[in-house]
Amino acid sequence: MKRNVVGLTAALLLGTLVLWGCSSSPSKDELKQLETTQAEIASLAQKSNALKMEEASLQQSISEKQAKLKSCQDDKTAVETKLKSVQ
């Protein structure tokens, strides 16, 4: 009886240890791979934000120059008209 109990206990213990050791979990390398990918994502997100700000700044600069060009062209037309009327 005593032997049976001891044997059963040992089997249970062994089984628990085997299950614990052999359960499916990623290796260290795999976990490292995941960390690396997540770091890349953070870096790309930062870069994307910076590029979006640069894009917005360029669009504003373009709008300002377009307005300036139109104003200059209007001035040119007005001056040409006045010069013709003076002549």
Binding site: T9, S23, L34, E40, L51, E55, A78
Partner: protein
Amino acid sequence: MKTLVRLTLLVTLTMSAALVASAQEMTKDQWQQAMQEATHKRDALQAEVQGLEADIVKLKTQDATLAQQVGKCQADLMALLGTTSAEVKEFALYLDQIDTKLNELSKLSNQDLYMRRAELDAVQSMIKRAKGQKLALLPENDQRISEEQYRLDALRESLKQIVAQQEETYTVKPWATNRDCLWNIAKRPKIYDNAFLWPKIWQDNRDQIKNPDVIRTGEKLKIPAKSPLTAEEKDAVQSYWHKRVALATASRPKSAGDK
């Protein structure tokens, strides 16, 4: 019995530890899913970054082209007007001077504006000079000059009203009854209450009063607003006294001692 208990305890502890550990660790399946999502997200971000970089290259080109076009347009405009950008800035500063002068005059009280009324003519000269320059053809400058002329005209209008309010008239009455002369008229409380201001009446009525010692009954004299004698009025008084002294000296009979 004791051994049995110990063994049972050991198994229980081991199993609990195993359970706790498995709850904390990522499973392979969970890792695979996380890797898939992370890879997908990374790829999407890489595509986004590439797209943004391509857009920025195009925008920079467009920006540079526009800068060139603006420069050319401004150069053409300067050539049309026969001027340089330095002269354009100088002209803008000149218009600023006119603005500053108008601001200063606009803040004066009625009394002060009346006293400084000659400065309105000076500002008008400045505006006229600005209008005569080719740079006045620029719409921006044309508008500024028009606004300045409008402000000056408004100041002149205010001055007209001030003059109308302040300048009174006085009709000269006979010497026999009223003892009216410029000195006594200025002395009157309703006029200046100060006889020494008589030159103001004289100078403002030069068209009627050739000689300040001679005013005629019935003459309507303009009475300018009370203020200290101006430099011109003081000069006129000095000149008057010199003539009086010269006349008095010339008409003095020669005494036996004079040679």
